[in-house]
Amino acid sequence: MPARCDVVVIGGGPSGSTTATALARRGYDVVLLEKAKHPRLTVGESLIPHFWEYADQIGATEKLEAEGFLAKAGGTVCWNGKIRQMSFRDFGFTRPALHVERDRFDKILLDHAGAAGVRIFENVKAGRFRSDEDGSTIDYVDLLAGEEGSITGRFVVDASGQASLLARQMGERSLDDAFRFMSIWGYFKDSKYVASDGCAHPVGDLTKLPPTTTVVSLGDWGWSWHIPLRESTSVGIVIPVEKVRSAKDSAAALESYFLQTCQSTPLLGQLLDGADLIENSVMVIRDFSYRPGTIAGPGFFVVGDAAAFVDPIFSIGVVYGMFSGSIAATTIDQCLRRPGEVDRLQKFFSKMFVSRLGVSRSLALPGTDSGEAVEQMVRSEVEFFGESEKSLMAVVSGLTNRSSNFTGIFGQERQDAQASGKFRELAAIEFP
């Protein structure tokens, strides 16, 4: 482990790998610290096709294509009985959205970072951050050797995901009181799946007929996901935290609650009929929703989930991670070339990422009073999007009851007009 470098990146998920690779390709000396050893399991398996742009920019496209991840046609949403389907092709996307096994996807990106010249140190847990005239320093613990050390760069990038290292240190990881959710998920063998023909198919059809990501509502604001992968199907539920406070917190109780919920949910229950839950595959996360604090400041940038997370309902997490990593790298490059302009340059990064996060919050977070300033920010940010992207958001915002803030800002009439003809409404999903 070196004592110094140009940029220290904390975290080897998609955000960290993208940032590190983009900087290494510009000739910078980048060190990446990752607390686990890849490949490692993580959730967040549905990707929208927007990620290809960032893969292209860091030269990772060929490797991702070669892996042969499942292409998905689009989405099926069953919300309080209303069933709609949409396909990305109808919005001008020529490259597919994917369902990815994250251990494979993240490893490909991390290895690619290494191939680009990033020095990667796994089993190293990042600790305290400080910034002074010497540079930006991160303390770390080498978990295997049991040794402590520190590394100093000109900038530190926090890509630590839900751990939100810098936000926690600065006391800025603020939960949304109006939105305390938890998620339980697991993996099933031999589940049926919904294709864009509006029918349920046996798992064997996956090789010739792409799946849709299937979402079914739960209660007032909750929802479930059904994401077919190559060897299993990822199924998860997002529910208010209170729902499982009363149940005993044991793994067995949670697993039982999870299975019961899945089996009793319309459409989802039918898809899982005859499927088997893979042993020891059930995982839980609580309070995964929080707002952005300071995402760029003296000696640091924060990217991906480390900055903020709302809800995985529209599959944008990995894309936002790669987007923010990409603009962080561009901005850091400028900061290193024009050190007198750092404060001003960082504001470009913050403005872009915070505005984009604002749009996703308005789409996924119902009922909170965001205030005039935030509404104006979202209203303005939406105008950066082209016509087909606006149509996509218009359709997405009509699929559930989560997007009232967005609809209020965008306008119901405009939403209906832009969404018209770009989705299918079905009476039922047909089962064999």
Binding site: E53, Y54, D56, Q57, F323, S326, I327, T330, T331, Q334, E341, R344, K347, F348, S350, K351, M352, R356, S380, E381, E383, F384, F385, G386, E387, S388, E389
Partner: protein, 83 residues
Amino acid sequence: MGDITEAIVAWIGDTAKQRGATNEVTAETRLLDDQVLSSVELLNLTFFIEEKFDAKLDPAEFVPENFETPNAVVAMVERSLAT
């Protein structure tokens, strides 16, 4: 075309072409409506302008209105250089 306009139109044209776009870019091309540049590319354009013309743009100017067309971008740059 003025120097600034020419440089910006050329940069946008090259960037779009590198991504496989075939339509010609002019000073009036609808950059946002027609999705000629992505958000990342808009940021890259901003930094290109700053370095090329020694401009210091106000981040508050990074709004859609200033990127609707190359002419809109030029107007933003000229406002910045005038102050």
